[in-house]
Amino acid sequence: MKKVFLLLCVLFLIVSCAKQKVSTQPPQAEKSKMEQNLNQQMEQNLNQQEEKKELKQPETLLSSEASMQDQKEEPKKTTVEEVSPTMIAKAQTTMTDATNEQSVLSKMIHFDFDKYDIKKEAQEVLKEIAAYLKANPEIRIIIEGHCDERGTREYNLVLGMRRAQAAKKYLVDLGIDEKRIETISYGKDRPLIDEHNENAWAKNRRCEFKRIK
């Protein structure tokens, strides 16, 4: 009986794996290899059933994760306001938060185009910030990742996130509790300098550090 059961299990596994097809007609051999790697990784990811189960309970997830946030996420009625081009023109105030921060947190770190690795100059700034956070254990910060105007908005959102995450990792490696650091990305939505040149781009590819109040 046990043998039959084992045999059934093996057969089931074979059939399950066979369902994960790999794209069969890529234009080049190299592409095929890359796609196969992607598909293999995807198969592994799809097998993470625990993750799936967790995500099939949105209400639980919402309530537990919302508790981490500063704002309660609740249903509400939105308001609709008809606006004119004149009102739009008047509403174009600066998108960059004026920071009153007098501490080392007012410093920024900068990145190369489409990169998120921490450069040497940035390492020095992050060491100063780590020292400040160690001296002020009550302070929590949020790291904002920003990008220059090149590329698309939605892709720059994820690039900015990578930058913020890289800065966070560096601080955590320097001994700061990761629970004290949040990260977010504004992509290219909040440029420091709204110009179209290399100088502006270099300044806009940055991480800012803000105290969470």
Partner: protein, 392 residues
């Protein structure tokens, strides 16, 4: 001459007055469509003036001054509060008649509907004037979500959040908008606005980014990316039972999920191979296939309705350029000028056009590109940098 008589009644919301149209549809099919408009300079008929202006926006419609050079003649007669509009096909004298009862508060909306009707009847393809545009824009220092019609009129702000709201996507029935709202201390929430009753409800929130892609054609599901800075997940959300599913997860960056119109695949952007490229995720067999190879930075795909061709943004020498390509990569063309950046491309539902946004320092313009002639038409300009434009 084959004629079908059709009676259409418009009951405009917020107005006790209505417009009724009586249309006789003929079936001429000719391109390009040259229309002679009698009395086109008459200023007192806003509906007619708007109609002519909107029709002239279509790259494949030409308003001509000489009736001998025209394929169609558009004429109207006003009797009391009734406007009788006549569109005749000059070669055969086939005619389309529109009867408009004036008095509606919303003459602008009536003009758009008429423009679609005229365009659909002369070109035998779906009009674009009933489309709506959603976008995000700075509003006194905070990004909010806005919706407008396709000619940039009737702009309405539909969020009033204290933190940025971005990346809106409109459902196929134009009744729902899904968007991303930031938390002050990190994290984002996907929220759904019901444009009918103005409910704004949270759908999913987590640390990091949650950005919605497109809805399925039946509007019952949408796709989104959830990215905590380490792991990216391509997920679906079922609006009927609130069930979520992780379709694909990866340590690379994912962005912009869009479903393609044959319903079998989702396109998404990933830098899994080093630089951002467009991939197809097959919903049936769960396989993944890369579909952009010609540029090392390819993002923001949008598919033509049959799903055989798509447009995407490639970053070339610091400029965002829009290319059209078949899925197999054989048909391939640059759609935009070499020296001007464009983004947010959207293939129109009638397959003929691609919409694209171009932003300058203080303004943004939405363009319509005729896919066969590459003729550009500016649909509207707003005095702000708008972004995350989505059209349905």
């Amino acid at each position: 001459m084959k004629k079908i008589a059709l009676l259409v009644f418009f009951f405009i919301l917020f107005s006790s007055k209505a417009i009724s149209l009586t249309i006789e549809i003929s079936n001429p099919n000719l391109r390009p469509f040259k229309i002679y408009v009698a009395n086109k300079n008459v200023k007192d008929e806003l509906i007619i003036n708007n109609l002519v202006n909107y029709l002239s926006l279509m790259p494949n419609v030409l308003i001509v001054d000489d009736i001998d050079n025209a394929d169609y003649a558009l004429n109207y007669v006003k009797k009391g509060n009734i406007i009788n509009l006549n569109l005749s096909y000059l070669k055969t004298s086939e005619a389309i008649n529109f009867e408009i009862r004036k008095g509606s508060h919303d003459e602008h909306e009536a003009s758009l509907k008429l423009a679609d009707m005229v365009f659909e009847n002369i070109s035998q393809s779906k009009g674009i004037f009933s489309s709506q545009v959603v976008f995000s824009m700075n509003w006194h220092g905070v990004r909010q979500i806005f919706i407008s019609d396709i000619v940039g009129k009737k702009i309405r702000k539909i969020t009033d959040n204290i933190t940025d709201s971005i990346a809106p996507k409109l459902s196929p029935d134009r009744n729902y908008v899904i968007y991303t709202r930031y938390f002050k201390s990190g994290g984002t929430s996907l929220r759904l606005i019901n444009l009918k009753n103005l409910d704004d409800i949270p759908i999913y929130s987590s640390k990091g980014l949650n950005v919605a892609g497109s809805f399925t054609e039946d509007g019952k599901k949408f796709f989104f990316i959830s990215y905590d800075g380490i792991i990216s997940k391509l997920m679906s959300y079922n609006l009927t039972n609130s069930e979520m599913e992780v379709l694909y997860s990866s340590r690379s960056r994912l962005a912009t999920p869009v479903i393609i119109y044959n319903k079998d695949a989702i396109a998404f952007v990933s830098d899994e191979l080093g630089r951002p490229q467009v991939f197809l995720f097959n919903l049936k067999n769960k396989s993944i296939k890369r579909i952009t190879y010609k540029h090392n930075y390819a993002t923001s795909p949008s598919f033509a309705p049959p799903g055989t061709h798509f447009v995407y943004v490639a970053l070339v020498n610091g400029i965002n350029k829009i290319f059209a390509s078949s899925i197999d990569g054989n048909d391939f063309a640059l759609l935009t000028p070499v020296d001007k950046s464009f983004e947010d491309p959207h293939w129109s539902k009638n397959e003929r056009f691609v919409f694209a946004l171009s932003s300058e320092k203080d303004n943004s313009s939405l363009y319509l590109i005729d896919i066969s002639t590459l003729k550009f038409v500016k649909m509207f300009t707003l005095p702000a940098k708008i972004g995350y434009v989505y059209i349905n």
